[in-house]
């Protein structure tokens, strides 16, 4: 009987503490809601509306019909027309398109002669999951579209057999090896997880253990504390990078086509972005527990909306918008671009700017949030 009283005592104390810790409470409600929204609406294993460029060597009625067919399809989203391969390559390297549709000059001539004209679809296969379904649908889209044209004098071309040879050219990862996409991405995920988590404890630990008062009583500036706290973890991040990149190369044999220099600068900037964010969390959270929760709350969308687990272009617009705000999204584009596509700085400049912008913004928040007093 006494045992019951004691259990009741502990239970009610626990309830009081839970109610007082608003953050934990908010997390317990917030995380399921976030997961429901992300998994329910944002994530799509059958990505549609993938950005496509078209290259029509000789525009005519049939090529227009085909492009129209692609526009109407739910899998392809024709975003631009290019006039040479160079332009298309740039767009691929920048990651702005997933597909390039090429309609050769002699297409119509061969079509009318029933010579099985070729239609070329280049696909960015660095993320095999993103493009496979769309590719599978391409032939059907083409024949369906053309059948509309086959009326009157062309009625004889109408058939159920394919009359066009759709050639798929998977770029960057022709064998469609998933590891090529996952392992470089993992580098970003691991760096995000560890660096945000560790630095988010930076100030909260001092506060919780009562050391903060001592630090504040010493003549040290916020900027100095921040740099001093972040610097050691840059080193740790670099060690992690070395481990993952070695594994990528020796264990998974992921190709490394681009410039080491670009990747290294990206890693440094990306690390800084995450460390600054973690430090900012640590100026907001009052306990280490809260810091952990904030990290988790940030990590979840990073994992799901950055293009790491699910194709970025396959997500709805609002999810892509959130994704654009996460450093991991930009880092993934850089690391995949450099390793798999040999992209150079001109293609990745925007991603670099985004990361630097993030650092500046978060850095300002961190310094503004940092209190030199106990108020």
């Amino acid at each position: 009987m006494n045992s019951l009283f004691r259990i009741w005592a502990i239970l009610s104390k626990e309830m009081i503490q839970m109610r007082r810790d608003r953050m934990t409470f908010a997390m317990m409600v917030g995380v399921p809601i976030m997961q429901l929204i992300l998994f329910g609406f944002a994530i799509n294993n059958d990505p549609k509306g993938l950005p496509t460029a078209v290259f029509i060597e000789a525009p005519d009625q049939h090529s227009r019909t085909i492009v129209e067919g692609f526009k109407l399809s739910e899998y392809f989203d024709v975003v631009t027309a290019v006039s040479n391969y160079q332009q298309a390559d740039d767009l691929f390297l920048k990651g702005e398109i997933t597909f390039l549709l090429v309609i050769p000059a002699d297409f119509t001539k061969k079509l009318v002669r029933q010579e099985m004209p070729q239609l070329l679809i280049s696909a960015d296969a660095s993320d095999p999951a993103a493009s496979s379904n769309a590719i599978a649908k391409a032939s059907v889209i083409v024949s369906k579209a053309l059948n509309h044209d086959f009326v009157g004098s062309l009625n004889f071309l109408k058939s159920t057999k394919p009359n066009v040879d759709v050639i798929i050219h998977p770029k960057y990862n022709p064998q469609g090896i998933t590891q090529y996409n996952i392992v470089p991405g993992l580098l970003g995920v691991i760096l995000t997880m560890t660096s945000v988590m560790i630095t988010s404890m930076a100030m909260t630990r001092e506060r919780e253990k009562g050391n903060l008062e001592n630090i504040l009583a010493m003549p040290v500036k916020p900027f100095e504390v921040m740099v001093g706290k972040i610097a050691p973890y840059v080193l740790i991040g670099l060690i992690q990078t070395a481990i993952i990149l070695s594994a990528a190369s020796f264990l998974f044999e992921v190709p490394f086509l681009g410039s080491f220099m670009i990747l290294n600068s990206a890693i440094l900037i990306f690390l800084l972005a995450n460390l600054c964010l973690g430090f900012t969390f640590s100026t907001i959270a009052t306990t280490q527990m809260q810091a952990m929760q904030m990290t988790f709350f940030f990590f979840l969308p990073s994992l799901l909306l950055s293009g790491f687990m699910f194709p970025f272009r396959g997500m709805p617009q609002w999810a892509q918008l959130i994704g654009e705000m996460l450093p991991l999204t930009h880092f993934l584009r850089i690391v995949r671009g450099v390793m798999l596509k040999a992209a150079d700085f001109s293609h990745l400049a925007n991603e670099f700017y985004a990361l630097i912008g993030f650092i500046v913004l978060i850095g300002i928040v961190a310094i503004a949030r940092y209190r030199t007093t106990l108020d």
Partner: protein, 309 residues
């Protein structure tokens, strides 16, 4: 520049609606030791924190070492040593590592020699690699005191530095305090010990956030206008509750086997001890002790009427 190491006036600190420090003015001349007294929660720690820039005053202004406490906190910190009430050094660093950190923060020359010296003075050479967290409470205090004096501050703010420290160490601590003041250092030390208050040049007494009295011990006692009688008769303790019930006696307290009674009203208290049954005891008029004065101050100020949220 003036000759006050601390010169603040109308300091106010509010947390929410609670006025924790209310219109406090302090002028501490250079080279003096001041005792900061007052009951728990009276605002001593809060006042000290405002002096060294850890809290921004809600109202009021002033200087420490000639530097503005609001705009020049950064510079004040360079020349001030603040020992927190709760141990605030790193428990997961060793004694030496803690001292090393402090000396790096202040960029002290001859760091190693300096740290060696402090450790030797503390008599902790054998234990210098022990974690600070493993030290006993009193030793933590001694380590903290050594650490905050390392950079030769001109002003020392010590918040209950001797809480939990044994008598011998306390004696040594006060010897050190007086040595430091001889070198021109100014010290404000909060304490609940009366014997420590008596070692100070002056004391300031805070209650409910207000500065009630200040001055030398003798001045404070004189200003209290307190009349105190003592009785050492056998069995005097049995009269304590009856004496407490008397309206004219403001406080009754045991001092060993003796009983002190005090009142600000000399006539009234003398009437009481002439009455039965108290006239059966031998009463002797004495100079009130500091404790008598403080207890009477606490009683006269009454209960804390501040609004806590």
């Amino acid at each position: 520049m003036n000759d006050f190491a601390v010169d603040v006036k109308s300091l106010v600190k509010e947390f929410g609606k609670t006025r924790v420090v209310d219109d406090v003015a302090l002028q501490i001349p250079k080279g003096q030791v001041w005792g900061f007294l007052g009951p728990n929660g009276s605002g001593k720690t809060t006042t000290i924190r405002m002096l060294c820039g850890l809290l921004t005053p809600t109202q009021g202004s002033g200087t420490c070492l000639g530097l503005d406490i609001i705009t020049e906190a950064e510079k004040i910190k360079l020349q001030t040593g603040y020992m927190t009430q709760k141990f605030s050094f790193w428990e997961d660093l060793s004694i030496r590592e803690n001292l090393d950190f402090v000396s790096r923060m202040y960029n002290l020359p001859n760091r190693k020699a300096k740290v060696d010296d402090v450790i030797a003075r503390l008599d902790l050479t054998q234990r210098q690699h022990q974690l600070a967290g493993d030290l006993s409470g009193g030793w933590k205090q001694r380590l903290a005191l050594a650490a905050v004096t390392m950079h030769n501050p001109k002003l020392l703010l010590l918040d209950e530095p001797t809480a939990g420290v044994d008598p011998k160490a306390r004696r040594e601590f006060w010897d050190q305090i007086h040595e430091l003041t001889n070198q021109g250092i100014t010290i404000l030390v909060s304490t609940h010990y009366m014997d420590e208050a008596e070692r100070c040049d002056q004391i300031a007494y805070l209650a409910h956030g207000k500065l009630i009295t200040q001055g030398t011990v003798r001045d404070v006692i004189a200003a209290s206008n307190l009349t105190t009688y003592v009785s050492i008769n056998k069995g005097v303790r049995q009269f304590a509750s009856a004496l407490k019930a008397e309206d004219d006696i403001e406080n009754v307290s045991y001092f060993g086997a003796a009983l002190h009674i005090s009142s600000t009203n000399t006539v009234a208290i003398e009437n009481v001890i002439k009455r039965a049954p108290f006239d059966s005891l031998d009463w002797q008029k004495i100079t009130p002790s500091l404790e008598d004065v403080f207890i009477s101050l606490m009683t006269s100020v009454g209960n804390d009427k501040r609004d806590y949220q």
